[in-house]
Symmetry: C2
Subunit: 203 residues, 2 copies
DNA sequence: ATTTGACTAATTAATTTAAAAAGTCAGAAA
DNA sequence: TTTCTGACTTTTTAAATTAATTAGTCAAAT
C-alpha cells in the first residue's frame, strides 16, 4: 500500500468516526483535519471535495454491509435461519451507522447525486442477486417450492426495508437511535420472515 | 338532524374538499368560509378552532377507511382474496387522500396532539381486532393453521404499512401522488400477501 | 511530492421585518 | 335567543437582511 493510500485510509477512518457519531452534516472538514493533527488544505490534496470523501466512506460501509449479508446467506444450510441471521446483520448495521442516515430519507447525503445513486443501485442489484441465488439454492434442494426466485427475493427485500423504514418513521420523535427501536425492528422482521418462509416451503 | 348539525356537515364537506386537494396547511379558514359564502367568524361558531375541524374531517375519513376494510374482510370467503381486496381498498384511500398526509410522516397534522393520537390509536386497535377476527375465522374453518392470531394480524399490518411507507419514501422526489407510485404499492402488497397467506395455510 | 496559512466563495444560521392566517368580540340580523 | 358578521388583536408563517460558519483555493514553504 502506497503512502498516498495510507494517508487516504487514515482520513477515511477519521471521517468515519465523526460521521457515524455526529452525522455527516455536523462534521466539518476542519474537524477531521484537526483529529489527524493536519490542515484542512491537506485533506483537499487527497480528496477533491467533501462529497468525494463522504462517498468513499459510504461505499466502504455499504459494501461491508452487503458482503456480510452475502456471506451469512452463503454459509447457511437452514433456509429460515439464514434469513433470520440476515435480519440480525441488517439491524446491527442500522444501529451502528444510524447517525449517517444513509438508508432513510432525512439523509445528510444528497441522495440525488448521480455517483451516490449508482453506488446504491449497484449494491441493490448485488443484494437482489445473492438473495435470489440463496432462494434458488433451496429451490434446487427441494426445500422451497418452484417459483420466480427474483420476484420472491425482491418481495423479501421489500418487506425488510418496509418494516425498517416504517418503524423508524413511527418512533421518529426520538432523534437518536435507541436499542428499543432496533429491537422492535429485529423482532418484527424475524416474525414476518418466519411466516414468509413457511409460505415458500414446498408443501 | 338538527340545523346546527346540518351546518356542521356543510362545513366539514367544504373543508374536506380543500384539505384533500390542497392539503391541510394550504387551506385557510377564510377560504373554507368563502366556499360556503359565509364568514370566517361563523365557522368559529360551529368549531372551536381549526384543529377541531381538521380532527373531525380526519375522523370521518379514517373511520370510513377502517369500516370499508372491515366490511371487505367480513364478507370474504376466500382468505387470500380477502386480504388482496384489503390492499386495494388501502391503496384507493391512499391515493384519494394523499395530500392530507394523514398516515405518513411529513404530516400537516400535529401528530403529537393527544386527541389525534387517541383517534389513531383507537382505529389501530380496531384494525388489529378485525384482522385478528378474520384470521381466527379461517383458523376455525381449518384453512389457516393454528397460531397466535393477534401476533399474525400485527405482522400482516406491519408488512402492509411498511411497504406503503417505504414506497412513498423512495419515490419521494415527486411531491404529488402519481398512479405509478400507488400501482407499485398495490402490486408489491399483493405479491407479499400472497406468499404470506401460503405461509399461514394449514399444511 | 506534500503541507500549510491566509485567502475567497458559497452555505447555513440568526435576526429582523412584513404578511398572512388564526382566533375574538361587540353588536347586528334572523 | 340563536346565529351571523365586520372589524379587530394575536399568533404563525414567510421573506428579506445580515452575520457567521464552512467549503474550497492557492501561492509559498517544507
Amino acid at each position: 500500500m502506497s503512502l498516498v493510500d495510507q494517508k487516504q485510509e487514515q482520513i477515511l477512518e477519521a471521517a468515519l468516526k465523526r460521521f457515524s457519531h455526529f452525522g455527516i452534516a455536523k462534521t466539518t472538514m476542519t474537524e477531521i483535519a484537526d483529529d489527524l493533527s493536519t490542515s484542512k488544505a491537506s485533506l483537499y490534496y487527497y480528496f477533491p471535495d467533501k462529497t468525494a470523501l463522504v462517498l468513499c466512506v459510504a461505499e466502504s460501509i455499504l459494501s461491508d454491509f452487503i458482503n456480510e449479508q452475502q456471506q451469512v446467506l452463503e454459509n447457511s444450510e437452514d433456509f429460515k435461519q439464514g434469513l433470520k441471521d440476515l435480519c440480525v446483520i441488517r439491524v446491527g448495521f442500522g444501529y451502528k451507522y444510524f447517525m449517517m442516515h444513509i438508508g432513510d430519507g432525512q439523509s445528510d447525503i444528497n441522495t440525488s447525486d448521480p455517483k451516490f445513486r449508482s453506488l446504491i443501485d449497484g449494491l441493490k442489484q448485488k443484494e437482489l442477486e445473492f438473495v435470489s441465488q440463496y432462494i434458488k439454492r433451496f429451490v434446487e434442494s427441494g426445500w422451497v417450492k418452484k417459483l420466480d426466485v427474483q420476484e420472491t427475493a425482491q418481495a423479501i427485500i421489500d418487506v425488510l426495508v418496509g418494516i425498517w423504514i416504517a418503524e423508524i418513521h413511527v418512533h421518529n420523535k426520538s432523534l437518536f437511535p435507541c436499542e428499543r427501536l432496533f429491537d422492535g425492528i429485529k423482532v418484527k422482521s424475524e416474525r414476518v420472515i418466519s411466516i414468509f418462509c413457511d409460505g415458500l416451503k414446498r408443501s
